[in-house]
């Protein structure tokens, strides 16, 4: 594996960092307090081409490779986890359409998603269904005229309050199916949700669809493939973004802790001279590096289209979200009472990091699939060793 950035990737990373420093960091706490990402910031991120980062150039996007996209997610995650979630959910719609959309769907939507003229969101979670996504209660019934009658309630939808186009998973009979639901369709309403612990400026909403008539051409993929392939594609993308975003969040917490502990005096020396503080800093430094390496590995596999990218991305997201949570916790601890106040951003990192451990597959769900995958790999290794021994005896 070659983790050296190309000249273009290095240039892109500097561009992202500069933009986040100038346009995201200065407003992140204010947006968090206001519980809203204003349309102007969405327009700005779109104007930079970041909403179209993953859209192919032929559709007007920037056509970024996986690593460059990861670097963008890291930088945005360093500035604002809420804003990162815009890249995440918007990208989930783009990736699903790019992979499974019809030519007509791609031609209609990808150029608009690339410019940000259309903002996308992903609707899977429901009031009664979180991790148990296969048992969603939303339904779509085929009508005599070939349209579908959609009844759904989707909750905790990041940027649902801003979305023009939502990729909604509902069941046709017992078959999970992905539908494109457009803002303005009769029966489709959006209710912003306030008072969240974290992701407070992620424009989170509850989406209600009551007898919404969906044309058949708004199905993405085919009936019955909504969960396995369309949501599968979207969620893999989501985990990839969140994994990188967690590295950024953890880096922000580390930077804040290094800065504060180097300036704050207690017992006549700066905090970073105290060994118990050094222990926390060392843990943060090493863990952030390790999390970043796991994400680099996932990027490497993603750019190669390697099937193992799905499990490796799961592991990267799992580890990085834990690191983000631990780093933000330590950063607040080092800041003491100051860290609990709105004078410092570490309290926001702390709250946002908790959300990272829940979204795009809770860490408990990641643990289940990682442990199962690990045991399966163990069996594969055992089979290979047995085969090798048998071949040795045969010689």
């Amino acid at each position: 594996m070659d983790f050296d950035l190309t000249t273009e990737q290095s240039r892109a990373k500097s561009e992202f960092r500069q933009w986040v420093e100038q346009c995201v960091v200065p407003v992140a706490d204010a947006n968090d307090n206001r519980e809203q990402t204003p349309p102007e910031l969405i327009a700005e991120i779109a104007a930079n081409g970041y909403l179209g980062a993953l859209v192919a150039k032929e559709y007007g996007g920037r056509g970024m490779d996986a690593l460059t996209w990861g670097l963008l997610c890291e930088e945005v995650g360093r500035g604002s986890a809420s804003l990162l979630s815009l890249l995440t959910v918007h990208g989930m719609v783009i990736q699903s359409l790019a992979k499974w959309g019809t030519l007509a769907q791609r031609e209609r939507w990808l150029p608009k998603l690339a410019t940000g003229a259309t903002v996308g969101a992903f609707g899977l979670t429901e009031p009664n269904i979180g991790s148990d996504a296969k048992n969603i209660e939303s339904t779509a019934v085929l009508q005599a005229d070939g349209t579908y009658l959609l009844n759904a309630e989707k909750r905790w939808i990041s940027f649902g309050a801003s979305a023009d186009l939502v990729l909604v998973i509902a069941k046709v009979g017992d078959k999970a199916t992905a539908f494109l639901v457009e803002r303005g369709m009769p029966g489709f309403s959006i209710e912003p949700i306030r008072g969240m612990l974290g992701f407070r400026s992620a424009n989170i909403a509850r989406l209600l669809m009551r007898d919404v008539i969906i044309p058949a051409q708004n199905i993405v993929g085919k009936v019955g493939f909504g969960f396995s392939h369309i949501a599968g594609t979207a969620l893999d993308h989501g985990r990839y973004c969140v994994g990188w975003g967690c590295v950024g969040l953890a880096q922000a917490a580390l930077d804040a802790a290094l800065s504060y502990s180097g300036e704050r005096y207690q017992f006549e020396v700066t905090l970073n001279k105290h060994q118990l503080i050094q222990e926390m800093l060392a843990e943060m430094i090493v863990n952030v590096k390790a999390a970043r390496m796991l994400n680099y590995h996932a990027a490497f596999l993603k750019d190669r289209g390697d099937p193992s990218l799905i499990m490796e991305t799961s592991m990267a997201k799992y580890f990085a979200s834990r690191v983000a949570s631990q780093a933000a916790n330590a950063a607040v601890q080092i800041h003491g009472a100051n860290g609990c106040s709105s004078d410092y951003p570490v309290q926001r990192y702390f709250r946002d990091a908790k959300i990272m451990e829940i979204i795009e597959g809770s860490n408990q769900m990641q643990q289940i699939i990682i442990a199962k995958s690990g045991y399966q790999q163990h069996l594969v290794n055992k089979r290979a060793a047995r085969r090798s021994a048998a071949e040795g005896e045969g010689r």
Partner: protein
């Protein structure tokens, strides 16, 4: 055993305890594979054989068993 079938079974062996199942055994309805397998299989087919699995290929009959997967790959080559 064909080369494609060898490769499919070898790939399958990374995810199930018994990759030597009957060629027509339904991998999905029998619960042998989890929800992530569907996309892992798509990536495998695309990377290994340089083909693109797209919207029109989303047919359960293309992926449900070892024989189905082998047949699908052959049809795309």
């Amino acid at each position: 055993m064909s080369t494609i079938e060898d490769a499919v079974r070898s790939f399958l062996g990374q995810f199930v305890s018994d990759p030597d199942v009957e060629g027509d055994h339904d991998l999905f309805s029998s619960g042998m594979v989890n929800s992530l397998f569907a996309m892992q299989l798509v990536l495998f087919v695309e990377k290994q054989y340089g083909i693109t699995v797209a919207n029109e290929d989303l047919d359960y009959e293309n992926f449900k068993s070892v024989n189905a997967i082998v047949g699908f790959i052959q049809s795309k080559q």
